[in-house]
């Protein structure tokens, strides 16, 4: 029999139920693994290597479940010459039945083991222990490989104690790991536990855990960036249309509002998708309502020339006239006591005012010089960015805490009351963090642009919020357990 693999290699074995594939999906962070209700969904052994920059640090192998454990054991007992011969007997079994089709599942699951994998034996802690499990545990013991048992409580009932005492008789290491609800911290703990199977596996597994933690921080960072971008974009969003100076704006109201809402929705979707893929969830089916926009965002504005409004034009005219006046005063050597400046400003402003009256009617090449702009947005409600932020934080909490074994829809429901919404996610922050975040959010709410340094600060603060969410979840989880 080949020696134990140098590189950490784990065969996930057990009864044919969804427990094994759930564990593999969770640890391999793969939401594409088929986890069907029917048994025997996995027919071939599938490898899930975890690598950093192309270097494999450990590999999980999902296997089909034991289907005929007793017969296998019977064969082994017949063909083993002594206790020391047991691992070799297993190997002979695999070789003998490789192509016969008599024991397809057992050959599939034993092959990686005889090639050097360690064993992770998975049972469902929510169903009662039965004596039929003895045979498969015995077969695994015969392989002589390092092994560990995982109790995965899939359903509601609790038979964990029963399992614990049954498994303790066959395994040195028994752990409870709920693949569906385990948060990131618990997943890292279980990986670190795997390293107890073999001393030489400790280092690569530790490196793997470190890389995964760093990757998670990166996901938080990317989520923070996506949220910051979304906040700024949403608060600055406006849709515009230019009409003739004497056109009626009312018919354009509804279509413009629809367009605005559609773009808002798109901005939110983009952020949701960015967060989900940052955490490697590519197949989430999200159920979420659009954000509520309570104010009337429709407005119209007339302008005169070059997009300058009347007042802007007058100011520009006044300033120019004033500048020329200053020149004339200077030329006169100060004798005129600034009369020219005053006159110049007045003349300039006056000329601009007069032309402001006339220009909208003027035509240049058959286009009216002046015009009317109708626009929808931007939102100026100071509460709105908090509402959007709370929604985003809630979504992030659900996504970050979602194990990759979960296959249900992700539903984000609105909680009633705007004030509650404002308090909601921000409650998790410390006083200092909340104080640091508010001015940024308020600045965004006013529609100001953020310069690069402010944006970097906002992203950092959001990162801390997201990290706090995670540890807060962990605490809540402990309270439940």
């Amino acid at each position: 029999m080949q020696p134990v693999s140098e590189q950490p290699l784990f065969a996930v074995v057990g009864h044919p139920n969804k427990g094994k594939s759930s564990i593999v999906a969770t640890l391999a962070r793969d939401d594409s693994i088929a986890i069907a209700a029917d048994p025997g969904t996995t027919r071939t052994a599938q490898r899930f290597p975890m690598s950093v920059d192309g270097q494999t640090l450990y590999t999980l192998i999902d296997t089909p479940g034991f289907q005929r454990a007793r017969r296998v054991l019977a064969w082994l007992e017949q063909h083993a010459e002594s206790d020391a011969d047991r691992p070799a007997a297993v190997e002979r079994f695999v070789r003998a039945h490789r192509n016969t089709g008599e024991f397809p599942d057992e050959v599939e699951l034993l092959t990686p083991i005889i090639e050097g994998a360690g064993i992770l034996y998975v049972v469902d802690g929510s169903i009662p222990y039965g004596s039929e499990y003895k045979a498969e545990m015995e077969v695994l013991r015969w392989t002589g490989r390092p092994r560990m048992a995982l109790i995965n409580p899939i359903g509601q009932a609790d038979h964990i104690d029963q399992w614990q005492s049954a498994l303790d008789q066959h395994f040195n290491n028994v752990r409870i790991f709920n693949a569906l609800t385990a948060d990131f911290e618990k997943q890292m703990q279980i990986l670190e536990a795997f390293s107890q199977l073999r001393e030489s596996w400790r280092e690569p597994l530790q490196r793997a855990v470190d890389a995964l933690k760093r990757h998670r921080k990166q996901a938080q960072h990317q989520s923070a960036e996506a949220i910051a971008d979304m906040l700024v974009d949403m608060m600055q969003l406006q849709v515009r249309e230019t009409l003739d100076p004497d056109a009626d704006p009312e018919p354009r109201r509804k279509p413009l509002e629809e367009k605005y809402k559609a773009q808002m929705r798109r901005l939110e979707q983009r952020e949701r998708e960015a967060v989900e893929s940052a955490y490697q969830h590519f197949r989430i089916q999200r159920v979420e309502q659009d954000v509520e926009l309570r104010e009337d965002l429709f407005s119209e504005r007339s302008w005169v020339l070059f997009g300058l409004s009347r007042w802007q034009l007058i100011a520009a005219g006044g300033a120019t006239g004033g500048a020329l006046g200053i020149g004339a005063d200077a030329a006169a050597g100060g004798l005129t006591f600034g009369v020219f400046t005053t006159l110049g400003t007045a003349a300039g402003a006056g000329a601009a005012w007069w032309s402001a009256q006339k220009l909208p009617q003027a035509r240049v090449l058959w286009h009216r010089v002046g015009g009317k702009t109708v626009q929808c947005g931007p939102v100026r409600n100071p509460n709105f960015p908090f509402v959007v932020l709370n929604r985003a934080l809630r979504h992030h909490a659900l996504v970050a805490g979602r194990s990759h074994a979960q296959r249900g829809e992700l539903t984000l429901s609105e909680t009633p009351g705007a004030a509650e919404q404002q308090r909601g996610a921000l409650n998790m922050l410390s006083e200092a963090e909340r104080k640091a975040l508010s001015p940024h959010i308020r600045r965004i709410g006013r529609g100001d642009r953020l310069d690069a340094a402010q944006r970097a600060e906002l992203v950092e603060l959001l990162e801390r919020v997201l990290a706090a969410q995670e540890s807060g979840q962990g605490r809540a989880g402990d309270l439940q357990a």
């Binding site: 690598s51 950093v52 920059d53 289907q67 005929r68 039929e132 009932a157 995964l212 990757h215 120019t320």
Partner: protein
């Protein structure tokens, strides 16, 4: 700045490349550039270099356009400067060159435009407080000669023109990021133009002074006497008077060089008239050229800072740096889709209870501690007879023991009986069960019904999902006399055919 343009072009082109490819390539480059990880701008430019070396490209067309625009503006500035100087210093012998003109064009006009430039370049924080300032600034920007550079894109050949215009559009879209760069770039170009203008003007003036005999005078319609002019001119000469006294017009010179229309040059005074030239040349140099050179220096410095900031905070650059510096962590092979061969779901199994026409034999595969009496009662209800025998199979028993159980069961059932097999509903139907059923079927006489009754964990009723699972799996056996039905009689446990 050409580097920024190049970078923008490259990043833009990159956007269409598929993500995994980009990630791999950039991570590879990033690993090589690891020592620069703390200096993002330097690392980004090094990335650009690495890519250029790989594809053996030189600067992009857009970068070349940036250079070309600067050169073109300088040339135009030189031409215009020479032309204006030629015009102002024109002397055909009839009238002296009017000093007032020279001062007006090359000193006052220059100072005014410098002032306007400074106004236009005031940062937003200051203009916020002055009403009308913003509008004025906008007007001034519209008028700046630096914007000619943008217009020049029209004369570029086709593919370069598209690229250049795309960049300009892109810069406008990312307003906040590029605003600084745009402003200082326009300013730099404008100052290059102005410096070239002044240099050419100065050179032309010097050439004319050297190579022709010029006479200077001053004349104005305004009632200005010698003292007044001296009061203007002599303070102007203050910056260089200590180094070059001849460049400071004396009162006598001013007195002597006034002329009126029609022009009559006093022959005694004629030789003096040329002595204006040091003053004029120094004026042009100090009030025309010098501020422009300083402004150009400032603009170049600020532009460089703006470019560095734009690179540093550009969103695509941020993502590039992440791609380069974050290790690629994969937890599964992305390519393989998990194989899921679902069990063949077609197949029919009866879901009702047959009537017992003979002895009933119960085979307990479940080992659920069930009250014997309860089972008997339920069987009575379901198939109309009490069990004749109860045997146990499966679990930890050996396969041989199971075979013996089958023999005994066959013996009990005889010609007309049926077999009821109790199984655990929550355990999936495994090959061991189906093997057993196959053996049982082989051993039984033709047509004997076998009823598989899944037992639930709580109170005997199985969960409907589990029941269906057993029905589906056993349906694939193709056994026409196999029934899968529940023992209990609750409403939801009742299964209709």
């Amino acid at each position: 700045m050409a580097a920024l343009v190049d970078l923008a072009v490259r990043l833009d082109r990159d956007r269409s490349a598929p993500e995994p490819e980009r990630r791999q390539r950039d991570r590879k480059i990033g690993q090589q550039l690891a020592p620069l990880a703390a200096r993002p701008v330097a690392q980004t430019l090094a990335w650009l270099d690495a890519l250029r070396r790989e594809s053996e490209e030189r600067e992009s067309a857009a970068a070349r356009w940036v250079h070309g625009a600067s050169v073109a503006l300088v040339l135009v500035g030189l031409l215009v400067g020479a032309a204006v100087a030629g015009g102002v210093f024109y002397y055909d012998g009839t009238r002296p060159v009017n000093v007032i003109h020279v001062l007006a064009v090359f000193v006052f006009l220059q100072l005014v435009t410098v002032l306007l430039t400074l106004l236009a370049a005031l940062p937003a924080r200051v203009t916020h407080w002055l009403p009308g300032m913003h509008a004025l600034q906008q007007t001034l920007w519209l008028l700046s000669p630096g914007r000619l550079a943008g217009l020049m894109t029209r004369w570029l050949p086709q593919p370069d023109r598209e690229q250049a215009q795309q960049l300009i559009g892109h810069a406008r879209a990312h307003g906040a990021l590029y605003r600084g760069v745009r402003q200082w770039a326009i300013l730099t170009w404008a100052q290059s133009f102005a410096v070239a203008f002044n240099v050419a003007a100065l050179a032309t003036a010097m050439a004319l002074v050297t190579f022709s005999d010029l006479a200077f005078g001053w004349s104005t319609t305004l009632r200005v006497d010698t003292e007044t002019l001296a009061g203007i001119v002599q303070p102007l000469a203050w910056p260089w008077a200590w180094a070059w006294p001849a460049a400071r017009p004396s009162v006598e010179l001013i007195e002597a060089s006034r002329y009126f229309r029609p022009v009559q040059i006093d022959p005694e005074v004629a030789p003096l008239l040329g002595q204006w030239w040091p003053f004029l040349v120094m004026c042009m140099a100090v009030y025309g050229l010098l501020p422009r050179v300083v402004l150009l220096g400032v603009a170049l410095h600020q532009r460089r800072r703006a470019v560095v900031a734009a690179i540093r905070y550009h969103p695509a650059v941020r993502r590039l740096l992440e791609r380069m510096n974050e290790p690629i962590v994969t937890t599964h092979d992305a390519g393989e889709a998990a194989q899921a061969e679902s069990m063949v779901t077609s197949g029919h199994v009866a879901t009702d209870w047959p009537r017992a026409e003979g002895p009933v034999c119960v085979i307990d595969w479940a080992q659920v501690p069930v009250e014997g009496a309860t089972v008997d009662q339920l069987l009575q209800q379901r198939c109309g007879a009490m069990p004749e025998a109860k045997l146990e199979a499966g679990g930890a028993r050996s396969v041989d023991e199971d075979a013996r159980v089958i023999e005994r069961a066959v013996g009990v059932v005889g010609e007309y009986g049926l077999i009821v097999m109790l199984v655990r509903a929550w355990e999936p139907p495994m090959a061991e069960v189906t093997d057993f059923l196959a053996q049982l079927r082989d051993a039984l006489p033709h047509g004997r019904p076998i009823v598989v009754a899944p037992i639930g964990a709580e109170g005997l009723a199985p969960a409907s999902a589990n029941l269906e699972q057993w029905q589906r799996r056993l349906g694939t056996l193709g056994d026409p006399w196999l029934h899968v039905a529940t023992l209990t009689t609750g409403d939801d446990a009742e299964v209709q055919t």
